[in-house]
Each structure stands twice: as structure tokens, then as C-alpha cells.
């Protein structure tokens, strides 16, 4: 039960952080990406704040031998910059620039019930599914865990 409570609280904090920072308004995001126009630099400070806090806390967390409710900390098996990383990130950026939504803000904004999200979120899941099927077929799924999001044996 307790790992579920911490996961819930983490999701809750994440959403509140996104909402407070301005990330849940796609107009802000597109203004941030509009470097050649009237650039709205403010959202750069979301990354500054998040990285400052997480980079400062990570070493303290890793003083533990293992996480509170899990057997081990994530490991990262893939370290090379490969074409999947580049192509995937490039396509992700195009979608981000078209709609102004990345996954966290989109799922948080789903709570508004706005029609924009009722289109975007199912399409996003469809895209995720296709990517996973394509990768499983190409036999790459075994090494797709570079971000530690799938459990390691």
C-alpha cells in the first residue's frame, strides 16, 4: 500500500508543479518555443527549478542502499546516443511544437475535460502503442529501458 501512496503523492505534486509553473497552458509553451518571435523565456525557469532541486536531492537519496519500498535504484543500460534517441526526440519536439502539450501537462489537463485533450491524449496513447509495437518487433525492447522505466531483471 505504501508504495502506492508515495506514487500517488508524486503524481499529485508533479501536477501541481506543472499547473503552478505555467506548463499546463499551451499558449505559454508555444510562446516559450517561439524563440524567433516574441520569446517568452519564463518556462526555462521550470527546468532550472526542477533540475536544481532534483540534482541536489539525488546524491542524498543515493546514500541509501536501496529505495524505501523497492529492491534497487534504477540502472541505465544504454548510454550511447543512437538514432532511435535522435529520431524519437526530434519527432516528439515536432508534436510538442504543434500542440503545445507534452505528456505530463496533457494528462494533468485532462482533468479539465476540454475537447482539446480528449483528442490529444488518445492520439498520444496510440502513438506510444505504435512505437512500442514497432520496437518489440525490431527486437529492441530488451534494451529500451535506458530511463529505468521498465523493471530490470
Amino acid at each position: 500500500m505504501r508504495p502506492l501512496i508515495s506514487a500517488f503523492l508524486s503524481g499529485l505534486l508533479f501536477a501541481l508543479g506543472l499547473g503552478l509553473s505555467g506548463m499546463t497552458d499551451p499558449a505559454n509553451v508555444l510562446g516559450f518555443l517561439d524563440i524567433a518571435g516574441d520569446w517568452d523565456f519564463r518556462l526555462a525557469f521550470v527546468m532550472v527549478g526542477a533540475i536544481a532541486v532534483h540534482a541536489a536531492l539525488r546524491p542524498l537519496i543515493h546514500r541509501r542502499e536501496r529505495p524505501l519500498y523497492a529492491p534497487k535504484f534504477p540502472t541505465f543500460s544504454v548510454t550511447a546516443v543512437d538514432s532511435k534517441l535522435l529520431v524519437g526526440s526530434a519527432l516528439f519536439g515536432v508534436g510538442w511544437g504543434l500542440g503545445g502539450y507534452c505528456p505530463g501537462p496533457a494528462l494533468t489537463s485532462l482533468a479539465t475535460g476540454a475537447s482539446q485533450l480528449l483528442v490529444f491524449v488518445p492520439a498520444m496513447f496510440a502513438g506510444m502503442y505504435v512505437a512500442q509495437v514497432v520496437q518489440a518487433r525490431s527486437g529492441a525492447s530488451a534494451r529500451s529501458a535506458s530511463l529505468g522505466v521498465t523493471p530490470h531483471p
Partner: protein, 141 residues
């Protein structure tokens, strides 16, 4: 100026806390695309925390709707061209984030926080194509 960056900094700090809590308690990376995307290829015993995290995001969203409705921008109507655009955007975001093993949170925050070269390259890449897309959409077409 300091006023306008205060909320982004504060919101960012909350996101950093959220990622730290998930790493400390659950031993997981707070990459949203990975957390929810892996539910589509479920592994026994590894689904509940992902759904609960998603539930936390939605609950946070509901709290924001209640306490800070302006956080979601001005409500807009959605025409047929808007539907096509958002569907294409969603497909690209979903496909690209899974192929590239991460999105703004997993690469942009967690990956950069631990100094991952892959994440730095990924973040620079999606920032660049995102900016290029907005440039083309706003200033060329």
C-alpha cells in the same frame, strides 16, 4: 521580471520534489511518457503504481481546475482543422517520446539532473525541433 519567473521556479521546484520522492520511495524515474506508456505493454506487478501515479496527476489537475482554473489557459473552441492538428501532435508526442525513451520530464529533468549525455542530447533535440515547428507555423506558413 523576478515576479514573472517566481512561479515557474516554484512550480519547477515542486516537480523536482516529485521526482525525488518517486526515486527515494519507489526507486523510479519520474518520466511521464515511460510511466504511462509502459501500461500499454503491462508487466505483472508493475502496473498499479503507474495507474496510481496517473491518478495523482489527474487529482492534481482537478485541484488546479478548482483552485487555479487560469492555469489551463483560455478556453477555446475546437474546429475540424484543430482536431486534425491536435491528433497529429498527440501521435507524434506519443510515438516520439517512446522511441526516444523519454520526454520533457524523463530526459529534460531527471536525465539532466543526473548528467546523462543521452538526456542532454535528447533535450536539445526536442527543444530545437519544437522551436523550428513553432517558427514554421507562426512565421512562415
Amino acid at each position: 521580471m523576478t515576479n514573472s519567473i517566481l512561479l515557474p521556479l516554484l512550480g519547477g521546484a515542486l516537480i523536482g520534489l516529485s521526482a525525488s520522492l518517486l526515486l527515494w520511495a519507489n526507486g523510479r524515474v519520474a518520466g511521464i511518457s515511460g510511466i504511462v506508456g509502459s501500461v500499454l505493454a503491462p508487466i505483472r506487478g508493475d502496473v498499479a503504481w503507474r495507474l496510481v501515479f496517473f491518478g495523482g496527476l489527474l487529482t492534481g489537475g482537478l485541484l488546479l481546475v478548482w483552485l487555479r482554473p487560469g492555469a489551463f489557459g483560455a478556453p477555446a473552441s475546437l474546429g475540424s482543422s484543430g482536431i486534425a492538428l491536435l491528433a497529429a501532435a498527440g501521435l507524434l508526442v506519443g510515438f516520439g517520446s517512446r522511441l526516444g525513451n523519454g520526454c520533457t520530464s524523463g530526459h529534460g529533468i531527471c536525465g539532466i539532473s543526473r548528467g546523462s549525455v543521452r538526456s542532454i542530447v535528447a533535450t536539445l533535440t526536442f527543444m530545437a525541433t519544437g522551436a523550428l515547428t513553432v517558427f514554421l507555423a507562426r512565421h512562415v506558413f
